[in-house]
């Protein structure tokens, strides 16, 4: 199965890149063709990935293709494909969501002046993300990691004429870059100590040869990249701003796939990371903090996309908690289900936003959003899945994370996780209730009926598909578990503790109930309890002031601090010294020239004086 598999992998990953080049160079002026190219290529990728997944469903171990790269630079880096279960699963998820979102975008982006550009960037992203999924070495992962960041930057700032959009793109790039630098350094540490960057080698015996401290250090550094890309604490603030991009972009990049790349990397290097319990402890803590902070932010936001963005952060935090707790399957499974329902949430929201032209869900509710039947039903399903309501997919994956947390000796983590479950249910149904049970409906009839045109159909088709997946995916827990179990020798079966299941279920219902009480029931004033405590509200709404701190840091320390110092040093000290030297020389020239114009007798005297000096020099020279 060697060559067909390799060919399928190459097709799956590189076709979108070809589409990107073709669109950029040839079809910028032909939007229809661009879209067809892009969708066609990603469809082929999807088919290839499904075929690969099916082929390898029962395969005993990972399949690896590698070739020497950069050999002549003095580094020994192997690049190629690593088609193991995790990679293929991710490949399929990414290809599927990419395909759906691109189809959806046909409707959403219709008529945009940058339509071709949009599809070009989407293809670029698809290429990078698909390749990332099946990369065989850390360096290769880093390369595509950065390219994913680039496409994210380009897509967030897609509507570049909007200041906030370009600002958000820049912020996203720089903040993830900060994390990536840590990742980059981590790669160096690994390379210099293990001498190898292959994922399988690192997960295998190579890592055990590294000194423990170095291993912990490199794990922490690599985790820095995860923090940046998955918007974890403290680099979390770029993700809400990234919602400035078109909604399909948010659905694809900033919820379902790209931000999940961080978690994916964690899963990729799970055996490596788990060699360092200290590092795992740090990861657990960061995941927990991120999850809780983001949840609190989501509780007070009025922008529907931002709520989902916060929830993404929090869910990613939850995945990292699960992984860090040793629940490999739990994290990956939640990643899978989350991709489905989060994409669904965004795509549904996108329909509303596109239709009503606002991001404020209070506004949406007032405008009569429940008139759009398919999106309404889909978004409720997705929100329920997010909240962990059985029997939707989110329920199953959350349960497995809870059981992983329950397996830890310290119950604090489980409690935090449960608190997260409660908050999630609360904020997601806050949105639902506000949207669909508004206090007043302004234009009941105007927009209520669903439009019926090709664009709308292109948008709703993916919704239906994703909703189906969300409903059904949970029942595939066992097969997926078995599938993933094929690749790892470590214990995937965390001890089952039933009470955590029940507690999670109860808490999610409680959150839902609280949301109903405050927002849903007839006559509710639709003001959350947090909003009644102004300081807390402000803290949450200002995102725990993280952005202020960063803003101050960049402004005071970097811009007006170091940068100012460097610039002043250049101007005043270095150039000052040089100009002073030059000026001094010219001044010396003036003096020298003046001395040449003195009366002739003084000149004769000078000659004589020099001669006398030279004569004396003869006697003193020997001393």
């Amino acid at each position: 199965m060697a060559y067909p598999t390799l060919a399928a992998l190459i097709m799956a990953t590189f076709l979108p890149f070809a589409a990107f080049l073709l669109i950029m160079i040839f079809t910028r002026m032909k939007p229809g063709l661009s879209a067809r190219l892009s969708i066609g290529s990603v469809a082929v990728s999807f088919v290839c990935s499904v075929v690969l997944l099916a082929q390898n469903w029962a395969a005993p171990g990972p399949v690896e293709y590698s070739t020497q790269f950069l050999a002549s630079s003095g580094l020994n880096v192997q690049v190629g494909f690593l088609a193991d279960q995790l990679g293929l699963l991710m490949l399929t998820i990414v290809a599927a969501i990419c395909l759906l979102v691109q189809i959806y975008s046909l409707g959403y982006m219709a008529g945009d002046p940058g339509f071709s550009r949009y599809y070009a960037f989407m293809s670029l992203f698809a290429w990078a993300m698909l390749s990332l999924s099946v990369s065989r070495s850390l360096l290769q992962i880093y390369v595509f990691w950065e390219l994913v960041g680039l496409s994210s930057y380009l897509l967030i700032g897609f509507w570049y004429e909007k200041f906030s959009a370009s600002q958000a793109g820049k912020k996203a790039f720089v903040m993830t870059r900060a994390g990536d630098v840590a990742f980059f350094l981590g790669i160096f540490v690994v390379l210099l100590n293990a001498g190898n960057l292959g994922v399988l080698e690192l997960n295998g015996p190579t890592a055990t040869r590294m000194p423990h401290e170095v291993l912990t250090l490199s794990a922490l550094l690599i985790f820095g990249g995860i923090v940046g890309k998955s918007a974890q604490f403290p680099l979390m603030t770029w993700l809400p701003d990234a919602m400035e991009g078109p909604t399909p972009v948010s659905a694809l990049l900033h919820s379902a796939t790209m931000v999940a790349a961080g978690v994916f990397l964690f899963a990729r290097l799970f055996p490596f990371f788990s060699l360092s319990p200290e590092a795992m402890g740090v990861f657990l803590a960061i995941g927990t903090i991120s999850m809780l902070l983001a949840s609190t932010m989501a509780m007070v936001s009025r922008d529907i996309k931002r709520v989902w963005a916060y929830s993404t952060i929090s869910q990613l935090g939850l995945m990292i908690m699960g992984l860090a707790a040793g629940g490999y399957f739990a994290g990956v499974f939640h990643l899978t289900t989350h991709a489905g329902f989060k994409a669904l949430l965004f795509l549904c929201s996108g329909v509303f936003i596109h239709h009503f032209g606002t991001n404020d869900f209070y506004e949406l509710g007032r405008s009569g959003s429940r008139g759009l039947k398919i999106p309404t039903i889909s978004i409720v399903i997705a929100a329920a899945a997010l909240s962990g309501v059985p029997p939707l997919s989110g329920y199953f994956s959350k349960e497995s994370i809870m059981s992983a947390l329950a397996g830890l000796s310290n119950p604090m983590w489980l409690l935090a996780g449960l608190l997260g479950v409660f908050l999630t249910a609360y904020y997601s149904f806050r949105v639902m209730f506000v949207m669909f049970f508004p206090k007043s409906v302004e234009q009941e009839s105007g927009h209520a009926h669903a439009p019926d045109h090709a664009g709308y159909r292109a948008m709703t088709g993916p919704l239906v598909f994703l909703a189906t997946v969300t409903v059904l995916l949970g029942f595939f827990e066992a097969p997926i578990k078995n599938f993933l179990a094929g690749m790892l020798v470590i214990d995937l079966h965390a001890p089952e503790t039933n009470w955590s299941h029940i507690a999670a279920l109860v808490l999610s219902i409680a959150g839902l109930a609280l949301a109903w009480f405050e927002f849903g029931r007839r006559g509710a004033e639709q003001v959350g309890f947090v909003e009644k405590i102004p300081p807390l509200y402000r803290l949450f709404a200002e995102r725990w002031y993280l952005d202020h701190i960063y803003g101050l840091f960049v402004d005071r320390v970097i811009d007006r601090g170091i940068s100012w110092l460097c610039w002043q040093n250049d101007n005043k000290v270095i150039d000052g010294a040089i100009d002073e030297l030059a000026g001094g020389t010219v001044e010396g020239g003036r003096i020298s020239a003046f001395l040449q114009t003195v009366m002739i007798q003084y000149r004769l005297l000078a000659i004589f004086a020099v001669l006398v000096f030279l004569a004396f020099y003869f006697f003193f020279e020997k001393i």
Partner: protein, 496 residues
């Protein structure tokens, strides 16, 4: 060192073409501007073709110096006209060919004193080509100066911001560097006792220790400072932003793209390869200066509002990467450094070329006065953005590989400096993105809304440069294969 004689004098053909172009331009009456442009494009195109041929004709399995031409020149001093290329000079020759040709096309719309401009430009490039291919220290010095002094007029006549100040500063600064080089070169000539300025015999006597350690240390620091000034080594970098900002576009391209490479190439070819002992003695200093340059250039660039100043400071930072690579004394370091020279050359050339287009249209290169250009001239903006991304070290574009390899080498040799250098990536990203945002994004200014996007013809030079960035970015081995043939034997042959 293996020396493979040439069956066809490719190298002299390159020099001959530029000189012939120079003479042809001088003979055309100044009024026939279009003809002058065409002649310039033709001759520069020929050099590009020859350098491409050369690049692919070079036998990578054999390595060493190839296409060697050797003629007696001044026998009484042991000066010979020796040309030859190895893995270090080959990428630089190609770089020069590319930047030379695209520079001619970039200046196509310039109307003032066309004849003189192209004549001086050809003279400048002749020097650059000569320096990269010469294997005789006398000629290296001659070409070094030939490539510098036309800069004065090129900047002072056709430049923009503070042009006379910039031109004077740059010329004096750089020639001050040559004031250190010449004595050191002659010093080595005598200390080797060989009575030759030939590079290869001198290198062997440096390797074998015929040139005593203290002599190597002394000569090395002179040569390093002398060439380093041109390479923008901190703290001798301040001519670079001023000079870039003042120079006309094609000259900025050649200057940042190629001339700064002459500096780093000189450090490598003359200082390092002739004085290996001096190298190992001064390497820590080199590394520290380079690391400071990397981070300092990035921070200083953050505050700039003139597009060319931004690029000037980013050049300081990037050339710091080259310096860091050269200071590691490893195969990887040298590989990465030479690769980075090439990548940075193409990247800055593209940046300056794009800025040139923007400036020609908007008549400003101040960031606050620009904005929203992406709407008006999407293609021109794309070129700039591609180059900006490359300068941020984005994978898939050429610079990444150079930086990666250098950083790894640095991380191995000087871990703290390696960390500092890597951290600068964030700052570079910050200031490049700021510039991109403020220049190309945001609402369109009313006065720019009527501007034309870059036409196909004017887009050609930028397309070439962008394509090179992408090709090398996707297939870096095309360069590394070549560079490695020079770096590995050199490092392995170092005295222990």
């Amino acid at each position: 060192m293996h020396m493979e004689p040439a069956n066809f004098p490719y190298l002299s053909a390159i020099l001959g073409t530029t000189v012939a172009g120079l003479i042809a331009i001088m003979l055309i009456p100044a009024e026939k501007k279009e003809l002058i442009r065409r002649v310039s494009a033709t001759f520069s195109g020929i050099t590009l073709v020859i350098s491409l041929l050369l690049f692919f004709a070079y036998d990578r399995s054999m390595g060493g110096f190839q296409f060697v031409e050797d003629y007696s020149w001044i026998p009484s001093l042991g000066i010979r006209y020796i040309n030859g290329v190895d893995g270090f000079s080959l990428p630089n020759l190609l770089l020069t060919g590319i930047v030379f040709f695209t520079g001619v096309l970039t200046m196509w719309e310039m109307e003032t004193r066309v004849k003189e401009f192209y004549a001086l430009y050809f003279l400048l490039v002749t020097g650059v080509f000569g320096l990269f291919m010469s294997l005789d220290l006398f000629f290296i010095f001659v070409w070094y100066d030939v490539s510098l002094f036309p800069m004065y007029l090129l900047i002072a006549v056709w430049g923009t911001t503070r042009k006379e100040y910039g031109a004077m500063k740059l010329t004096l600064y750089l020639l001050a560097g040559s004031a250190l080089i010449l004595p050191a070169v002659i010093f080595l000539y005598f200390k080797s006792g060989l009575g030759t300025f030939g590079f290869v015999p001198l290198m062997q006597s440096g390797m074998s220790g015929t040139i005593a350690p203290w002599e190597q240390k002394f000569a090395f620091i002179l040569l390093f400072l002398g060439f380093g000034i041109l390479a923008g080594v901190w703290p001798f970098h301040t001519w670079s932003p001023v000079g870039h900002a003042a120079a006309p576009h094609a000259v900025s391209m050649v200057h940042a793209g190629v001339l700064m490479k002459i500096g780093s190439f000189g450090v490598l070819r003359v200082a390092i390869m002739l004085c290996p002992v001096g190298w190992s003695y001064w390497a820590p200093l080199m590394a520290v200066l380079a690391a400071i340059g990397i981070i300092y250039g990035a921070f200083a660039g953050l505050r700039q509002t003139d597009l060319k100043y931004v690029i000037g400071y980013s050049s300081v930072s990037h050339m710091g990467v080259v310096g860091l690579g050269l200071s590691t004394m490893t195969v990887e370091g040298l590989n990465g450094a030479v690769f980075q020279m090439f990548a940075h050359g193409i990247m800055t050339a593209l940046l300056f070329s794009s800025i040139g287009y923007i400036y020609d249209r908007t008549h400003t290169k101040m960031v606050p006065e620009l904005g929203g250009l992406s709407r008006v001239m999407p293609v021109a903006s794309t070129f700039f953005i591609v180059a900006a991304l490359a300068s941020m070290g984005l994978p898939g574009l050429a610079n990444f590989w150079g930086e990666l390899v250098v950083f790894i080498a640095a991380f191995r040799t000087y871990p703290p400096l390696g960390v500092i250098a890597v951290l600068a990536l964030v700052v570079t990203a910050l200031f490049m993105l700021r510039v991109v945002q403020r220049t190309f994004y945001g609402p369109v200014d009313e006065k720019f809304s009527k501007l034309q996007d870059v036409s196909f013809f004017l887009g050609v030079p930028r397309m070439i440069l962008a394509a090179v960035l992408v090709i090398v970015g996707l297939y870096p081995s095309i360069l590394f294969d070549v560079i490695h043939t020079a770096s590995a034997p050199f490092i392995n042959g170092l005295p222990k």
